[in-house]
Symmetry: C2
Subunit: 414 residues, 2 copies
C-alpha cells in the first residue's frame, strides 16, 4: 500500500464512524475552531516559512497575499468553522417517501458521501473551510493543497486532527497529503477504491488536469467565461451599471464578466456610455470590427481567443450581434456554463434567454457577480459546479451529501 492508499483506507474507516456521529459533529467543529485560535501563533510561524519560500521563488505580491495568514485571518477561519457548526445537519433529511400497495414503506434519505477529496491551490484558508464543510456533511476528507502553502496546511491540519482526537473523533476524518508532487495529485485522482468524489478548486489548468486524469467521480468547479447580452430593449443606464459591476468589482473571480454582446440597434447609443463607465477603471476593450467602428481606435481588435478565454483581469471582450438568436449562438459556442445575463425590458426575450442558455446561473437584469453560495442563501459554499451531474452552480452542504433508500417491510417478497 502506498501512503495515499493508506490514507484512503484510514479515511474510509473514519467515514464509517461519521455515519453515526450525529450532532457530535458540531462539538468537533467547535473544538476545531477553538484549537485554531489557540494555535494561531504556531500556524503563523509555519506560514512565515511558506511566505519566505514563496518570496524566494518569485511569487507575485497578489499570490503572496492569498498565501499569507495573520491573526485576523486565522480568527476568520475559526469563525467560519463555527458558522458551519451552526448550520442545519444536511444528513438524515427525508427527501421523498411513500407506502407501496404491498405495504412496503420507502424513504429516500440523505446520507454522507463517504470520503471526499479536495485538490486546491495556494490558499491555506481552504484547508479549514473545506474540512469543516466535509465534516459537517458526515464525510471524511483528504486534502491535497498546493506546495506553496504546505507548511501552513500541515500546521492547520495537525491542529484540526488533534482537536478531533480530543473530542473522541478519529483523527483520520481529516487527512492532508504532505507530498505535493504532481504524482500525489494524480494518485488521489485515481483512488477509486476509497474516494467517493473529488472536488478540484482552482484555475482552468487544475480542472483540466483532473478531468483528464481522474478515475473517481469528479465535480468540476469554477471556470467562468461569463457573458452579458444587452438586448435592443435594454435600459442603457442599467446595462452600464451591471456591466461595470460585473467586470470591475472583482475581476479575478469566476463570476466576473468577460464578454458583452450588444444588439446592433442599440450599440451606437449604448457603447459610448458603457465605455465611459469602464474607463473609470481603465478597462481594456477588445471589440469586434463594429465596436471598433463605433468607439474608435481606443478599442483593441478582438481575436477569436478573446471570446474563448477568461481574462480574470480589467479586460472585456465586446461584440455587436444581429439579434438575440445570434447572442444565444455565441453563448452556446463560447460559454463555460457558469453565469450569463440578459439586460432587457422585453418579456419574451427574458423568457427565451433564461430557457435557452445552458448555464448554471442565468440572470435577467442583475450582475453575474451574485453567483455565490452565500449570496444565494445556501450558507457556506464548497465551490461552484460548472458540470451538470449531481450539483450545478453554488454548492452548499446539501450538495456534499448523497442519498439512500430505506425500505421497511414485514416479510414482503417479489
Amino acid at each position: 500500500m502506498t501512503v495515499i492508499e493508506q490514507m484512503g483506507a484510514s479515511a474510509k474507516k473514519a467515514s464509517r464512524f461519521l455515519i453515526n456521529a450525529g450532532s457530535s459533529k458540531d462539538d468537533a467543529l467547535l473544538a476545531i475552531a477553538k484549537a485554531l485560535r489557540a494555535n494561531s501563533a504556531e500556524i503563523i510561524k509555519a506560514n512565515d516559512i511558506d511566505i519566505e519560500n514563496g518570496r524566494n521563488a518569485g511569487l507575485t505580491e497578489s499570490l503572496l497575499d492569498r498565501l499569507r495568514l495573520t491573526a485576523e485571518r486565522i480568527e476568520g477561519m475559526a469563525v467560519g468553522v463555527e458558522q458551519v457548526a451552526n448550520l442545519a445537519d444536511p444528513v438524515g433529511r427525508v427527501l421523498d417517501g411513500r407506502t407501496l400497495k404491498n405495504g412496503l414503506k420507502i424513504e429516500k434519505v440523505t446520507v454522507p458521501m463517504g470520503v471526499i477529496g479536495i485538490i486546491y491551490e495556494a490558499r491555506p484558508n481552504v484547508t479549514s473551510d473545506a474540512a469543516a464543510l466535509c465534516l459537517k456533511a458526515g464525510s471524511a476528507v483528504i486534502l491535497r493543497g498546493g506546495k506553496e502553502a504546505i507548511n501552513s496546511n500541515k500546521a492547520i491540519a495537525n491542529t484540526m486532527r488533534n482537536a478531533l482526537a480530543e473530542v473522541g473523533f478519529p483523527e483520520d476524518c481529516i487527512g492532508l497529503i504532505e507530498d505535493t508532487s504532481r504524482q500525489s495529485a494524480t494518485e488521489l485522482m485515481q483512488l477509486t477504491e476509497y474516494l467517493n468524489v473529488l472536488i478540484p478548486r482552482g484555475g482552468a489548468g487544475l480542472i483540466k488536469s483532473v478531468v483528464n486524469n481522474a478515475k473517481v467521480p469528479v465535480i468540476e468547479t469554477g471556470v467562468g467565461n461569463c457573458h452579458l447580452f444587452v438586448d435592443e430593449s435594454a435600459d442603457i443606464e442599467m446595462a452600464k451599471n451591471i456591466i461595470f459591476n460585473g467586470k470591475t468589482s472583482r475581476p479575478s473571480v469566476c463570476n466576473a464578466l468577460e464578454t458583452v454582446l450588444i444588439h446592433k440597434n442599440i450599440a451606437e447609443k449604448a457603447l459610448p456610455e458603457i465605455k465611459a463607465e469602464l474607463d473609470k477603471k481603465n478597462v481594456e476593450i477588445r471589440g469586434c470590427s463594429v465596436v471598433k467602428a463605433i468607439l474608435g481606435d481606443c478599442v483593441v481588435e478582438a481575436v477569436e481567443e478573446d471570446f474563448a478565454n477568461e481574462f480574470l483581469d480589467y479586460i472585456l471582450a465586446v461584440k455587436v450581434v444581429d439579434d438575440i438568436d445570434s447572442a444565444l449562438e455565441h453563448i452556446a459556442k463560447y460559454s463555460t456554463g457558469h453565469s450569463e445575463c440578459i439586460v432587457t425590458s422585453d418579456y419574451a426575450n427574458a423568457e427565451k434567454f433564461t430557457t435557452s442558455v445552458d448555464s448554471a446561473a442565468v440572470y435577467v437584469n442583475a450582475s453575474t457577480r451574485f453567483t455565490d453560495g452565500g449570496e444565494f442563501g445556501l450558507g457556506a459554499e464548497i465551490g461552484i459546479s460548472t458540470q451538470k451531474l449531481h450539483a450545478r452552480g453554488p454548492m452548499g452542504l446539501n450538495e456534499l451529501t448523497s442519498s439512500k433508500f430505506i425500505i421497511k417491510g414485514n416479510g414482503q417478497i417479489r
Copy 2:
C-alpha cells in the same frame, strides 16, 4: 473530426432544439412507437441476421434469447415508449426558490442534461427504452450497443430517427454508433466536449472498463453483491421466504441475493430450514466452516472469492457471524453498495442496520429483489446507480435531468 466527434457535435446541436421542445417531445415519442410497430417485420428481419451470427459465434441459448426480437417483443417496446410519453415531464420542475433581501428572485429549475451516452450489451430493447427516456428528459442520446445486436440496433435506431424527422425533430436527437469496436466505446467515454454524462448498462467488466477509461462524467450502474443478515431475533419462516425469493426468483439480475450472514445464536435452528427451502431449486450453498459443521458435506467450503463475487446463478454464499457488528463489518468489506437486508424483530438492530449500511437500498424484512424503478414507483428506469454522486439506486426520469438557477432582478449589482 472523427465519426464519433461528428455524432457528438450533431447530438449537441439537437440537444439545443430539445431544450425548447416542451410537450412536443410526447408527440415524437408516440410517432416512434407507431413507427416501431409499422417496421416490426423489417426489424425482425435484421434481428434474424444477428441471431444467425450469434448462433454461428456460439452464443449460449440464454444470450440468444436476450438478443431475440419477436412481434410480441417489439409490441412491448412500442408500449414502453408510449408509457414514457405518458409520464410527467421531468424538465421545468421548480426544485427550490426564494426572494433575497435585495429583491433578486432565485429559482432552481430542472433542465435537460444535454447529451447522454449509453453503452450497453446485447439487448436490442435497450435501444428504444433508453432513447425514449433520454428524449423525454429533453436530452439527445448517443447509443453504443453490443456488436451481437448491431443489425437489430441499426434497424431500431433508423426507425426512430425517421419517426423524429416526420414530426419535425432533428434526427440526431437519437444517434447510434455503428462501429462496435472496443475503440469506438473508448472514444465515446472520452468525448468530453460533447457528452454531459455516460451511463453504462451491463456487467462488471463493462462497468470497470468505463471507470478506467472514461473522462466524461459517469453514472455507474448495476453490480450487486447483495447481502441478507439473519439477526438473532429473526422470524425464521420470514427469513427463509425472503432468502428463497432473493436468490431464486431471478438469479441473473443485480438485485438477486448473493450472500446470507446469520447470527451464531440462531444458525443451528435456522440453517436447516433455509437449506431445505433452497433445495427446492437446487441452490448450491458455499458456506464457512461453521455452516459446514451444521449442514454437513452437502455444503461447499466457501473461499474468500465466494464472498466477493456476484454469482448471478443458483449459488449462495453463507456465513455464520458473532453479532450484528460482525455482519456490518462483512458487508462494509464485500458489498458493492447495491441492496442489503436485515431480517430482525429487534427495533434497535433494524435502526442500526439501516443507518450503518452504506448501500443504495437498505431493507428491513423484505426481499432485495424490490430494488427496481418500477417497484419503487419511479416510473420507467434507466438503470440502478451504485455510486453516490448525482443518483443512487433506481434512476427514473428525474435522475436524467440537471438543474440551473434562474435569477430575475431589476438592476441589482453586488
